[in-house]
Symmetry: C2
Subunit: 455 residues, 2 copies
């Protein structure tokens, strides 16, 4: 029998996260304060985040130790497995070698707890008793509930009302781990109460949920706020994926020619590829290709300009330089899965701008078709998000079949789709369609870019 | 950091299943033909099952080779991990060592594919193109769809209509793997059409779904029928769990004092413990305790008599000697999870009758409470079924705390609850209650026992 799985021993699990800021050929553009137009200071962020995370946000130290208490929680599911997708290779009849690093074995079923656990830990260290956040479909809210639960911190999740009512499973997961989840708008905040007075049946939005979570956090001394993607410290925590993957690829005696992953805020895929980008920056692997895959219905890297924008749709956050569709951007209703963020992690945008990574947009129907092929060969039913990357992996493997090249492809598989079966149902019953966000509409959306020097 | 996980290398995965029939101190009572009152013959079963499975059903060969093609599919998720539940131990402040063998990492999320894949393989070998089965909540139907898909066999699942409509996620899983799932009663069979004519909105029952699946299978030469638990060959295939567990416990340098698992039809738990029962039969481990845990609302071993009964509620199958609540038995509506079978795997019943294993019944609310404790310590949200076993593990660990004994407890963890969050929701919102099936009602249900010599 041929080997299909590569697994690290627990004692070989990474002890440090990798900080790409130590190795960037040019530093990241600063994050700006919207009122002053000047770079933000740690004090600006202190009401929301613990100082350790604020330090990580701007640190240029190459290796940052993973606290032992965090590694002990990671141990519940880490290190995660590197799979060789032999049955997919056979079905495609390709000479390509396809590997995937699978993050679906975590309790909430995705990569998200890698940072949720770390954020809960640093908040706990600073004496924080309670963390608030927002969630759309519930993936991040459930991961943070899990993470907070492991350190005995209260977790309050403002979940977009329409998702709260339509997708109760994620809410129940949060409650099972001890978190509290309310539909947003809620009567628990001023902004929520005002909205409910005007519009009692308001379906909510991510922007509104952020406003509620932030208002809640700043109004109480014992409470902080947490973000599940985009920020530098979030990507830092996710590098545990890539560090494990590097060790495991070595164990498999290969190095990737192409790395593929899906991007919404970007933390999962960057978590996998940042340790490999290091090799590229250092000139060791000049031909390594890294393909960021996004939906055609939210084409941030492939269609958006590189500009300063708010991180949230409510316009509450500092300004970050990102490829962005404008913070007013809302993906079209036909779009079934995640990957709906208007911007992109500044680190990814910077690397893309420097030409170190590529981007590609994929249509929805083809991504589900790819997901079905994956399920019928490798078994795993993937979340709609990684299906975007699977589509590109299949394309690249079929190119190898044509050219006869035996390339090594590494897929960042962010998690399973057990709680996303409604999207599969919609696909299998012909209720989904494609939508490519047209350039004109992107230009329109960009009207929401903040009026400030777009240096 | 302390070790929490024990994992076999792929090349050390078992190559043979263990057949307890080689080592039983007394042979199993024969399976009887209801019409003749005589033991059934292989020919009686040939319209439903491939000859290799019929042979396994009665084989007394100790080790039966796992075909390489089956092991290649097992490799998608096997060997599975043995966890040390250190955070649960700490939360209970117990000197007990708690281990669990976790089967939730399979694509359908339970132990069921261990036999689904094997059954699909043997059917394929015999030239069968199509397999039918019934399913209640959908766990078995999804596992068989996955198993059939891996060998390119069509799978047709008759799913109890009310579950089909209330729990669409499992149906969508089946379709994702290429299976076909219809609500039962369906217009696809004579028995289904007759029922629909009488009662168009009939919610269906497992008995009716079995009748449809069997009628479909016997009416076509290219089609067989498959069962997901109870039968000897099903338990045989599940011994891969216990064989791995034995190797891993050795690796952890321990041997269990107590093994705990939940039983419905019994295949998951027997799969874990049969290789350990061998040690007990051989006198090597006389003090090993094996506790079968069932719900008080379906108390087969703890309340039922040991008698010949039909395997299905429709009275179509041969008669098996089992502890049984009568094949007309239906668990009360308050019961939220699986473990609803009126009888029990004949192998388990025989071992229980011989005094080699124990049984205990647990109330529903306490099992969910235990499941919440497990989720908040070990992370995994368990299916309602293994929560029954977790309740007993916690009880035994707390007894160790009182007595100061450091016993080793091994839990058979059959799978996750990602598709069972509605049951957690009902529990967390106070909508579940307890129900102990009273002895009088059991006596009443036993009126359905077939009229034949109960030798």
């Amino acid at each position: 029998m041929e080997r299909t799985k590569f697994i690290l021993d627990e004692k070989d699990m990474p002890t440090h996260w990798y900080n790409i800021q130590a190795d960037l050929p040019k530093p990241l553009p600063p994050v700006m304060h919207p009122a002053t137009g000047k770079p933000i200071t740690p004090d600006d962020l202190a009401p929301l985040f613990p100082m350790e995370l604020i330090k990580q946000e701007v640190s240029t130290e190459r290796w940052i130790e993973i606290p032992e208490e965090v590694r002990e929680i990671y141990q519940l599911w880490r290190p995660t497995t590197l799979f060789r997708a032999r049955r997919l290779e056979k079905a495609l009849d390709t000479p390509a070698k396809i590997f995937y690093k699978y993050e679906g074995s975590s309790p909430p079923g995705s990569h998200k707890p890698n940072t949720a656990v770390a954020q809960a830990y640093y908040n706990k260290q600073e004496g924080i008793k309670r963390i608030t956040t927002e969630t759309g479909a519930g993936q991040w809210g459930s991961a943070l509930s899990f993470g907070c639960g492991t350190f005995g911190i209260e977790c309050k999740v403002y979940m977009v009302a329409i998702s709260y009512h339509q997708k109760p499973y994620r809410r129940v997961m949060m409650e099972t781990w001890g978190g509290k989840c309310v539909p947003s708008p809620s009567p628990d905040t001023k902004v929520g109460r005002e909205m409910l007075a005007k519009w009692p049946d308001c379906p909510g939005s991510l922007g509104l949920a952020i406003s509620e979570a932030v208002e809640d956090a700043v109004s109480r001394d014992d409470t902080h706020y947490a973000l599940g993607s985009v920020l530098n410290h979030v990507l830092l925590h996710q590098t545990v994926i890539g560090l494990e993957a590097k060790q495991l690829m070595e164990m498999a005696d290969v190095y990737p020619d192409i790395i593929v992953g899906c991007i919404g805020g970007g933390s999962n895929f960057a978590g996998l590829y940042l340790p490999f980008v290091k090799d590229k920056i250092e000139g060791k692997k000049p031909n390594l290709r890294i393909i960021n895959v996004e939906p055609t219905s939210c084409p941030t890297l492939t269609k958006g300009p590189y500009a300063y924008d708010f991180g949230d749709s409510a316009g509450l956050t500092p300004l970050m330089k990102m490829y962005t569709l404008g913070h007013d951007f809302i993906p079209p209703p036909v779009h079934a899965g995640g990957l709906r963020y208007h911007g992109m992690a500044p680190i990814i945008c910077h690397l893309y701008n420097l030409g170190l990574v590529e981007a590609r947009a994929e249509h929805q129907l083809a991504t589900f078709e790819a997901g079905i092929t994956f399920a019928r060969t490798e078994g795993i039913i993937s979340a709609p998000e990684p299906n975007h990357a699977i589509k590109v992996v299949i394309d690249e493997a079929l190119k190898c079949k044509e050219s006869g090249e035996s390339k090594t492809i590494l897929l960042a598989h962010s998690g399973h789709g057990h709680v996303d079966m409604a999207a599969y149902d919609a696909y299998l019953s012909g209720k989904l369609s494609d939508y490519a966000y047209p350039k004109e509409k992107v230009d329109e959306a960009l009207a929401s870019l903040p009026k400030m020097p777009q240096a």
